[in-house]
């Protein structure tokens, strides 16, 4: 079997990490790299990735030429969190009959943001034999797929609560900027108003996906409330944060049914978090708490989720799918082609 041909669309921080992982991965090759940044177009992918090696793939802003000439099996779309940006990109890929896996947060459960465009993608994908999936560590796993999976041991559920606590000090500078590390409270509020602090995107998508999986009809999904978390002691890790300045943020989103909070997702990312964890508490029959320690690193987890989803998406029927529609997710260890095709035992 030939190697799986992958096209990378978006060579930013996350796209670069995925590219490096793919270059080391057996059974898959990068056949095209797309980005619109002026300083990247025309450069060899290796130059942009700082690998000190020519890879022989020039970054281009011409998506169609890659799709027509390199004929990828799958496109990894790592451009934007928002469906308004990724919709035309997905449509252009799907028209070529190519599968899509994307980090686009809104695509993880696109029916919430824009049902019309979700239905258009689904129809176009089915017409052209493509499968489309939005995934990542969160949304995509920690606060939705894993929550849904854990519900399967339950006879009854009254409430689901999930908390993610991460220490922003050990994360990328671009991530720290997204959550306002080091700002004054006033600067934080201004940047939040201007949309310069985006924080975490996807809590509402995760709530909607959980509710759909459980056939819960929610009366409302109360959108993220974003609040700064202030440093209570001086943080000396990079970047330094003075006492009283912003260490990061806390976001909560809630799913409401009959005036009760039935799903509560609580995201906290700040420099100086003493304990990093991902927890899920289900109150029902039975009641239990599940805790992952340390919390799954966002970058590592997203690279893994995207690449591990590739064989699942290639195996899946055409259409716009979400994580809850695919077989249970798993690590595509070793040669990724080993994870293609029907049940292995039947062939042996």
């Amino acid at each position: 079997m030939n190697e799986i041909k992958a096209m990378l669309y978006g060579i930013g921080a996350m796209g670069s990490m995925i590219a490096k992982y793919l270059l080391a991965k057996e059974g898959i090759e990068i056949v095209g790299a797309v980005d619109i940044a002026r300083d990247k177009v025309g450069e060899d992918l290796g130059t942009v990735l700082n690998t000190n090696e020519r890879i022989g793939i020039n970054i281009t802003d011409d998506v169609d030429s890659v799709l027509c000439e390199a004929k990828p099996d799958i496109a990894l779309l790592i451009t934007s969190s928002f469906l308004r940006d990724t919709y035309p990109q997905i449509a252009s890929i799907v028209e070529h009959g190519v599968d899509v896996v994307s980090t686009c947060e809104e695509l993880s459960y696109p029916f919430l943001t824009d049902k019309m465009h979700a239905k258009k993608i689904d129809a176009l994908a089915k017409k052209n034999g493509s499968t489309v999936l939005g995934t990542g560590i969160n949304p995509g796993f920690l606060m939705d797929t894993l929550v849904i999976t854990l519900t399967s041991v339950c006879e009854k559920i009254e409430k689901i609560e999930s908390i993610r606590v991460m220490d922003a000090a050990s994360r990328r500078v671009s991530f720290q900027k997204k959550i306002g590390v080091g700002l004054t409270v006033e600067e934080f509020r201004q940047k939040l108003t201007r949309g310069e602090i985006s924080g975490h995107i996807g809590l509402e998508q995760s709530i909607a996906m959980i509710a759909d999986a459980l056939a819960w009809k929610l009366d409302a999904i109360v959108p993220d409330t974003v609040a700064p978390i202030l440093a209570e002691k001086r943080i000396t890790s990079a970047p330094e944060v003075e006492v009283g300045k912003v260490g990061g943020l806390r976001q909560k989103a809630i799913g409401v049914s009959g005036n009760k909070e039935v799903i509560a997702l609580d995201f906290r990312a700040y420099a100086g978090a003493e304990q990093e964890y991902d927890s899920i508490t289900i109150k029902g029959v039975p009641t239990f708490t599940q805790k992952i320690q340390p919390c799954i690193h966002g970058d590592i987890g997203t690279v893994a989720m995207i690449v591990n989803s590739i064989p699942k998406v290639i195996n899946a029927p055409p259409g716009l799918l979400t994580m809850k529609d695919l077989p249970i997710s798993s690590a595509a260890l070793g040669d990724i082609r080993e994870h293609l095709g029907p049940q292995k035992w039947l062939q042996s």
Copy 2:
């Protein structure tokens, strides 16, 4: 849509709990109950369940008559842990084009025990349009499905370890007998040799399912080693256990690759366990530990897993499937028919 018609095959302790849950569940009805026990045949199901109510279903030992006359959509098979017992039962159900969900531990990954019969079931199921699944809390979820799901955040994995610790004091007497609670060490060894202490069944199946999902080629699955756990202090909960007598047991099974333990499953059930939990540790990129507290109660979890799997199995294509082949598992809350059919958002 009519209610889902379920046939119960095996009205023992677990079958009775499943029956009671189904009687309270919306969207599904029990249309037949099969058992071979002389004291149950001919009795109303309500009498056997001690519900103080006639249900109008007489327990019969004639499977074919239920299959022909009541025409169930699905059979819940709760008769034996072993494929040698359940194979003819499954075959007889599948020949009628009826789906099967079973607690049979060996059926959770049947290719390990008996690939020939697994292939026969698969062929028969495909010929008759039936789907067959073995599941439960363990095997079926805690030490396989959940482990596999958690691997999806990983780029690399060196070792997987899962531990289940349960306090046997709060469990059924029949379960306590299975693990030797209250015996002397000598009695324990004798009963183990005679097969009267069966302990937990399914560790090897769980290891094989994990390895299959990860495309790991194991050199060996080292079967369960069963050891008694002795009471270190007097256990006063029922049944009482003197110091030095058997409180329960510990079982370990290991998956080996290249002389390394790559999968280690460790099951401990004993009266007096101070902390009950289910844990999974993955060493790799990233390394993390996941812990569920308290451990999921085996009976509640198995009832949930069996019933929650019903819509997944009805939705699935024909054949012999395992948990790793189905969409991510989830609680079928409310009316179980809400969980049938394609993605809900497409219809709205």
